[in-house]
Symmetry: C2
């Protein structure tokens, strides 16, 4: 699956967290890992919204999934 998140903000996050220099591959790797996590969250959020009889994913679906362990 192609990535939809841009890599540049992850470079910025790494620098904000104490990195003096960041390799391009490091920012891309962080983006890839984080996008996989977001995708897993999205799949679970979609299931719990359907479970609640809704076609719209709401904030509460994301919050429920975020509080549920072992979804990574």
């Amino acid at each position: 699956m192609n990535k939809v998140l841009p890599a540049a903000p992850f470079d910025r996050i790494l620098r904000k967290c104490g990195a003096e220099r960041v390799s391009e591959e490091a920012a891309q790797e962080l983006r890839d890992i984080v996008e996989d996590i977001a995708t897993n969250f999205a799949i679970e959020a979609s299931k719990v919204a359907r479970h609640a009889g809704r076609k719209t994913i709401k904030e509460e679906d994301i919050a429920l999934v975020a509080r549920t362990p072992n979804h990574f």
Copy 2:
């Protein structure tokens, strides 16, 4: 801390994962959670790079942190 990740790609991820409709707050909530996770990764990656005697964060630092449990 202000968020650096844009919310729009998270709306796209949610739709790719089966959502018919996505509330604006849901995309923002997913962005917020995921950015917190990325920030925790970045803090740990910065530590392991320093531990290795480097000022540059490399892909291997991100990979090491991603394989280490309980960093969320």
